[in-house]
Amino acid sequence: MAGSEVKVLGTWASPFALRVHIALGIKSVKYEWVEENLEAKSQLLLESNPINKQVPVLIHHHKPICESLAILQYIDEAWPSAPSILPSDPYHRAVARFWAAYIDHKWFTWLKGVASAEGAEAKKAALDRVREGLVVVEEAFGKCSKGKDFFSGDRIGYLDIVLGCFLGWLYVAEKRNDVKLLDEEKMPGLAAWAIKFCLDGAVKDVMPDKDELLDYANMVFQAMAKAKLNAPPNY
């Protein structure tokens, strides 16, 4: 009964859906995972998220919640017992939300920009931007963690989840472009954090295998390139 009360609509490759997996794991909430096919979205998904028609969606007591950051905060508030996902102090919550916004609106946009950059020069510029962003986040990590393992301190929390969900796709970008982005020399704090994050109990069993993700990404990008070649000219 407990399992059917909480449903998550997601895909195994979606970093945003991964956030929900991890957060529910932190709270030890039992849930049913519904693997969506984004090429053939389920009726449940279309009804639960009619505006954006995207994953993830959390369905709790038959009520859908959309947008991964709204879902993370909902999980923290609907299951208020420890461990908490967000800090308790309003100022530290504000700091966590600020960096979550930076990661989602700026850094992740730059990461996506690597895939869409055309030509060697544009690719290099896009990769440099991603790296520069990580340097900025490295500084934030130092201030937030205060010498501890995670952004949130001794245990993973909001900001760890928000950034950590992208580690698989960061690996994909590194392999596909034959570069190092998460550089142990330039970002020692984040490099160490990444290893610990992936080993965390709430993460290790739900994080997609990064080589499987790479195979999937290669397949998707190949299909996209083919579609582009075959597409009629855009007058």
Binding site: I65, C66, E67, L69, A70, Q73, E77, Y91, R97, F98
Partner: protein
């Protein structure tokens, strides 16, 4: 030690205006620091080195940037006249709608204003689709927050003032009263609420500013466009 609350803003920023409204609604005493965004102060750059923008709230010496983040901080720090609902599901809905308003509504309406030709047509279509969702959400409610102004109203509030300015400048209707009656009446109710009404930036100055932005956008697009675009 007394509370020290400073708000770095500009005379026209709609994002900073959200914070003005929130502080005023809660009756929080603050000092407004007006920035000239073409000549940013060292203090602004020190308090918001990442984005170098307004608004910035400085509370007892600690700066917070990004208007959504500031709004939630204000609501969590000063509990009177709550902006977000208490119930976790209702709060999640408010956060969803706020993101929708920012990512979709604001983006499409801004594009409808600043772009020309086919891009403008497409933006107007997108804006209308987004406004339809808002219209639906407004059913049975005076404000998005219910009986009184709340978080989503503050996030969307720029619509109640800027849309008529945009419409006047480009000579096109963006929020048609017939197509979006509930949204239209929300715009009136919101704009005329005492705290909101008393804080709008001067309309004539706004028209000059946005006309200049549009002129600059047209100039730069015509100088860089080629015939095949």
């Amino acid at each position: 030690m007394g509370e020290e609350v400073k708000l770095f803003r500009s005379w026209s920023s709609p994002f900073a205006l959200r914070i003005v409204w929130a502080l005023e609604i809660k009756g929080i005493e603050y000092e407004a620091v007006f920035e000239d965004l073409s000549n940013k102060s060292p203090l602004l750059l020190q308090y918001n080195p990442v984005h170098k923008k307004v608004p910035i709230l400085v509370h007892n010496g600690r700066p917070i940037a990004e208007s959504f983040v500031i709004l939630e901080y204000i609501d969590e720090t000063w509990k009177q006249v709550p902006l977000l609902p208490k119930d976790p599901y209702e709060r999640a809905m408010a956060r969803f709608w706020a993101k929708f308003c920012e990512d979709k509504v604001l983006t499409s309406i801004w594009s409808a204003f600043i772009k020309q030709g086919k891009e403008q047509e497409e933006a107007l279509v997108a804006a209308a689709e987004n406004l339809k969702f808002l219209e639906k959400e407004m059913k049975g409610k005076k404000f998005f927050g219910g009986e009184r102004i709340g978080y989503v109203d503050l996030v969307l509030g720029w619509l109640a003032n800027l849309v008529s300015i945009f419409e006047e400048i480009i000579g096109l209707k963006i929020v048609d009263e017939e197509k979006f009656p509930l949204l239209y009446s929300w715009m009136q109710d919101f704009a005329e609420a005492p705290i909101i009404r008393d804080n709008w930036p001067p309309r004539d100055k706004m028209i000059v500013k946005f006309q200049a932005l549009l002129d600059a956008a047209i100039a730069s697009s015509s100088s860089s466009s080629s015939s095949s675009k």
